[in-house]
Amino acid sequence: MRDAFGRRGGSSDPPGPRPALSTLAWLVARDANQTIGSGMASIELLRRTLERRGWLDDREHGVLNAVARFTPGTNVLAYLAALGWSYHGAAGAAVSVLGGSVPGSVMVTLLTAVAASIDRWRAVRVALTAATLVAGGLVLANAWSLVRPYVRGPRVRWTLASIALAAALDLAGATPVRVLLVLAIWGTLTPPRTAP
């Protein structure tokens, strides 16, 4: 039986090659701190970097994303912890979370300490707004990268039904965790048919 990615068994093990710990730390610190307004946009940048180098595939990205969604707190940091753990265990998780949180934390601390009124400078506001526009586009690109393997796979109708269910629950005002719990139940009730 093959999954939506054409793999047998649905293993979620990360692809064989992996970045060195120092490389992982650098890439996370660089990509996770490039966007403003949405952490998921940062994840999209990191996904592109890691996939380009053959260290991550869509399947693993999807698994990490799903786990992060169910983890309390900031989804992006949960994603980074799981990603780092997949590559280098505790050390990988630690450097990924540090890389994804320390630079921004230092900046927030500095801003708060000097009580900078960033709204005062028009150019800064325009730049921040433009960065937010780009971040929105990256979030949509991340959504597409997650759903793409299913749309192109053998279960298109099931995928469309799942999307419709999630959208309906979201429009009805259900919290994200409730939406995903219902989707998980829906998934267990609609297993793929075994190939003859």
């Binding site: 649905g10 293993s11 979620s12 996770a32 701190n33 403003i36 949405s38 952490g39 698994v63 990490l64 799903a66 969604r69 983890t71 309390p72 707190g73 900031t74 940091l77 949960a78 994603y79 912890a81 799981a82 753990w85 997949s86 998780a93 979370v97 949180s101 320390v102 921004g104 934390s105 927030v108 708060t112 009580a115 960033i118 709204d119 028009r122 506001r125 707004t129 433009a130 526009l133 929105g136 586009g137 979030v139 949509l140 991340n142 959504a143 997650l146 759903v147 299913y150 799942s162 269910l165 999630a166 979201d170 939406v179 995903l180 989707l183 998934g187 267990t188 297993p191 793929p192 075994t194």
Partner: protein
Amino acid sequence: MSLLLLYALLLKAYVTSFSGVGALPQIRQDLVVTYQAMTDEDLSRAVLFGRSSPGPVGLYIVSVGHAVGGVPGAFVGWLALVTPAFLAIPMLALVRRWLHLARMRTALDAVIVGSATLLVPSGILLMREAAVQLAAFVAAGL
């Protein structure tokens, strides 16, 4: 307010929410209303700083910590921010352990598709807000 209590309150708010901004109501209830350790203005400013810095939007909690306890408070805020992230590790191990089951795989597939669907409104909202603001800047001659 002691740093330990600050950490406990921020961690409680984060662990009981599933997004950085989702913790905001609980933080306001504890630090603004109950303990009066900061004002609504401080909180609004913290959110603004969080949104104006690179990285997760949830970084505003660092600014909240700074407003309450200075630089040590900011460190405590950062600690409360990163602590729940490590819960993803046992969850990942659990998912991988059961992933050989067809029903588990399909459940995970459904969650992945669902989380992608939930990202769409967020992305559209970000782009719409930014586009409206940019249009206002252009109308005002930048």
